[in-house]
Symmetry: C2
Amino acid sequence: MSRQIEVCLSPVMVPHYQMAGRIVVVIDIFRASSSICYGIDNGAHAIIPVATVDECLSYADKGFLLAAERNGEVVEGFNFGNSPYSYTAEKVKGQTVVLTTTNGTFAIQQAKQADQIVLGSFLNLTSICNWLIAQDKDVLLLCSGWKNKFNLEDTLFAGAVVHQIKKSFSHFCDAAIAAEDLYLQAQSDLRGYLLKSSHSQRLKELNIENDIQFCLKQDCCQAIPGLVGDRLVDIK
Amino acid sequence: MSRQIEVCLSPVMVPHYQMAGRIVVVIDIFRASSSICYGIDNGAHAIIPVATVDECLSYADKGFLLAAERNGEVVEGFNFGNSPYSYTAEKVKGQTVVLTTTNGTFAIQQAKQADQIVLGSFLNLTSICNWLIAQDKDVLLLCSGWKNKFNLEDTLFAGAVVHQIKKSFSHFCDAAIAAEDLYLQAQSDLRGYLLKSSHSQRLKELNIENDIQFCLKQDCCQAIPGLVGDRLVDIK
């Protein structure tokens, strides 16, 4: 057994990591990967991640729900934004949602060579960990970061995954070791730990504290959102 | 007062950071930045960092000492390699050394837009921290990493600097926060902490344990190696 876990701390470092033959877990905790896990878990038929509001608009009038948000406000004419609270069963069950997300979509595009792309969040932490263990492949945890830079919340989640699956793996890169140690330091109070992050200050200005608290809940979802074509569907 | 510290965890992320107007500290703990700090502190007139053995060879017969090492062995025809033990006063005092280093030289090249590039290592930790505080500029700590990926030892040093200078700064990126927390976790036994790193396994194969121990010594040097033209000289 010589399975490997690597953690890539920013999508701009992707060209230096092997994708082929691996499962890549795309992480964008605040809030794309959390909202997508929650929406798929609540019975959304599929979620299509796109990079721009214009790209999202190109799906108008095709029976899709359109989700676009800029600066914390739902863009005019769209059904809803990026808040996980928009992805309840009542709103998304049986629907296909087109979602704009800059950091998350860029990370997904960078990982196209992977055997399988899946999305991870604290909401489906244990579920995705059990699924990863069962796949018998090397794993790359890909943090979307913030504007191509490192961020704490994506790294903490990567560390949580490393901590939960490492017994089934034998090789770990330095970033996996660092992510796990940061997670172990923060795990008793993730919200408190993140209060000191620069990103958290920025999020505070967006007035989405409820979303942040929700995105840090663990194990309320079982879905494994995986990319099939251009769509994320439950591949569990 | 609104001075900022950022930490860039890999040279490939440099395009996403501001360089102009800032001091950039290039970090390559095992072993380029450590050997350079030690050599300059021991009275080397200058050290010229180059990327390749061929580039190093182009300085032959000009009165320089040539340092090149590949796979832990001094390249044939060169005066010495990258071990800090080659940079004693006896060997380098009054001399100009041309040194090949892949990760470190790449990082220096990436930071060319900075107001001033300096080299940091545990050997000159307190000295460079005091110097940074006195400059009254924003600081970017640039980890050379390993083959463009994150490594633990450069990040731990960045964290040590953040820890020592943060009272004079008011803004910190997420990577600075993470680096400091990792350093605080590791500081009581840096060598022990690094034993679990993948890089450490690789270094063990190179049989340079004495060099590693030496590179983790704190505050045995006062030099501030700064880039002036293509040369590193003491700018203290």
